[in-house]
């Protein structure tokens, strides 16, 4: 029983009309989720700037408010006040729709992210598959932006986005199947409830594959080939400014928040934790995941295009398949009360497999292969 269902029951007991019982809790839930998402995104922007400047041994924005906390708001106001420029040769209708097509699916993901026990908008029994399906719509939005701009660089970025998303979706889905095997359900609430041991311990290899794959899905460094500033200027949003650019910018951080929430739910036992209330635990874990993402961004250089696809097909896909078969055998053989032995076996296998594959996985000794 989610909080939303309880709200509906309360309204029903007070003799509200049927359509209101259906609509009012849903609208209230949506408004709460959107305001939480936008607030956390603002905190994210500030946190990333401060953290990345620490990594680069500088101070970062610290003038606007205490510790520079109002800097993202100033940035937002600046972006909104900019002139909205549409290129002469652009396909204007699609140029207008594209930012919406990128941003809306990202908000839709939050419908199945559980912020606490029962604090979920819709406990679908296909929860995690829904996330994969919805987030694949954003690719089309990115491609629409790339095509409609009528710009060579944005077009290259669009082609890269398709190569990247299509390749990385497969290992991500395979690593999710490993979780579904252990839990026996796709529902996000049931996945969290099944984690007496967080799945990051139970399936370390699956976690690594999912984490890297979701980095690629959210176009963060080192997988940010679509925006690669030094090669194709800014990629698909090169011809955007003003509010439309703000949609892309918000979407970029929104998808980081969404995937941080999903990684928390799938692998870090979601809202569960001692002493503190569930929502606080959830937010702490989300911030931890995001900090690691920023850490990776400020440490690793960007992939080359051939390295990107080769990494997905030659490294992550075979490991994901082996991981899946391994988990399936373990679920059959090892009884549920001996999960700690599973943890030990899986850590051993993960270490051996990664070492082995990093020996096998070569890319022509620095030669660019086509």
């Amino acid at each position: 029983m989610t909080l939303l269902d309880q709200f509906q029951l309360i309204l029903k007991s007070q003799n509200w009309p049927d359509w209101a019982v259906y609509l009012v809790p849903a609208l209230v839930g949506i408004i709460i989720i959107i305001s939480v998402v936008l607030t956390v995104v603002i905190v994210y922007i500030w946190w990333e700037r401060r953290l990345i400047s620490r990594f680069q041994i500088r101070l970062g924005p610290n003038r606007c408010g205490p510790e520079g906390i109002f800097q993202p708001i100033a940035t937002a106001v600046k972006i909104l006040l900019k002139e909205d420029i549409v290129p002469e040769k652009a396909d204007k209708l699609i140029h207008f729709i594209a930012p919406i097509t990128v941003f809306v699916p990202i908000l839709l993901i939050f419908a199945v992210v559980p912020f606490g026990e029962g604090a979920i908008l819709a406990d679908l029994n296909v929860g995690i598959v829904y996330v994969i399906a919805i987030s694949s719509i954003s690719v089309i939005g990115i491609f629409m932006a790339a095509w409609a701009s009528g710009n060579k660089y944005s077009f290259i970025s669009g082609m890269r986005s398709i190569a990247q998303m299509v390749s990385y979706e497969i290992p991500v889905v395979l690593s999710i199947v490993g979780i579904a095997l252990v839990v026996g359900s796709f529902s996000m609430l049931k996945i969290v409830e099944a984690q007496n041991i967080p799945f990051i311990l139970l399936q370390p290899l699956g976690f690594l594959i999912f984490f890297l794959g979701s980095l690629a899905e959210m176009n963060r460094s080192p997988f940010d080939l679509l925006e690669a500033d030094s090669e194709i200027v800014a990629g698909y949003h090169i011809e955007y400014s003003g509010m439309k650019f703000a949609m892309f910018y918000l979407g970029e951080y929104g998808v980081a928040l969404a995937y941080a929430g999903i990684i928390t739910t799938l692998f870090l036992s979601g809202w569960q934790g001692p002493l503190l209330p569930p929502v606080i635990w959830f937010l702490i874990k989300v911030m931890m995941v995001f900090s690691v993402i920023v850490w990776i961004r400020s440490t690793l250089p960007r992939f080359r295009v051939d390295q990107l696809t080769a990494f997905a097909w030659k490294f992550m896909l075979p490991l994901a398949v082996i991981n899946l078969v391994l988990i399936a055998i373990e679920v059959l053989v090892i009884p549920a009360n001996l999960q700690w032995t599973m943890v030990l076996i899986n850590f051993g296998f993960a270490a051996v497999l990664i070492l082995l594959w990093s020996k096998l996985f070569t890319l022509g000794g620095g030669r660019v292969e086509v």
């Binding site: 396909d91 699609i94 029994n125 598959v129 399906a133 089309i140 998303m165």
Partner: protein, 161 residues
């Protein structure tokens, strides 16, 4: 409420399907096709087939339409579309005949309606049906082998000598 949502979905579906046919710009036509796929997914949700709906979005919107768009990228003059050929009247007649056959068969078929309540959890029964003992395991495996051989065949055809 569900009837209203269904009518909305159906209207959008019909309009976007017409858009696929009428719109000249092939890229816009492909986008219309994506809208059509989404409305079909919505209809599945109304039928309590949530797994099918999600897979519809995943496969058709996430994969097949991306393939269509990539194919469009490889064509010339995507914005003008293809001008009508010499056989346009013949093609129109054949298409109209096909439409007549489909409409006739849909109208005259007596569809049986199920009286049972929709399932709360759809994934498990579906999985049992596909991979269970009195299920369609052989069919699923044959389909998988067929797809694999199709992929291998495609690679063999396009491979550089």
């Amino acid at each position: 409420m569900p009837e209203l949502v269904f009518l909305l979905m159906a209207a959008v579906a019909v309009v976007s399907a017409l858009g696929v046919l009428v719109v000249r710009d092939i890229f816009r036509a492909a986008l219309c096709l994506i809208v059509l796929f989404m409305t079909v997914a919505g209809v599945y949700v109304l039928l309590h087939a949530d797994f099918i709906a999600v897979v519809q979005v995943l496969v058709y919107v996430g994969a097949i339409s991306v393939l269509i768009i990539v194919a469009i990228m490889l064509t010339r003059d995507a914005r003008q579309g293809q001008p009508l050929g010499n056989l346009k009247y013949v093609a129109g007649a054949v298409a109209f005949l096909l439409l007549a056959v489909i409409v006739y068969s849909v109208i005259t078929t007596a569809f049986t309606l199920s009286e049972s309540a929709p399932l709360e959890e759809t994934v498990k029964p579906l999985g049992k049906l596909l991979f269970g003992d009195p299920g369609y395991l052989l069919t699923v495996q044959i389909a998988a082998v067929l797809l694999l051989s199709a992929i291998l065949g495609a690679i063999a055809v396009i491979r550089e000598k």
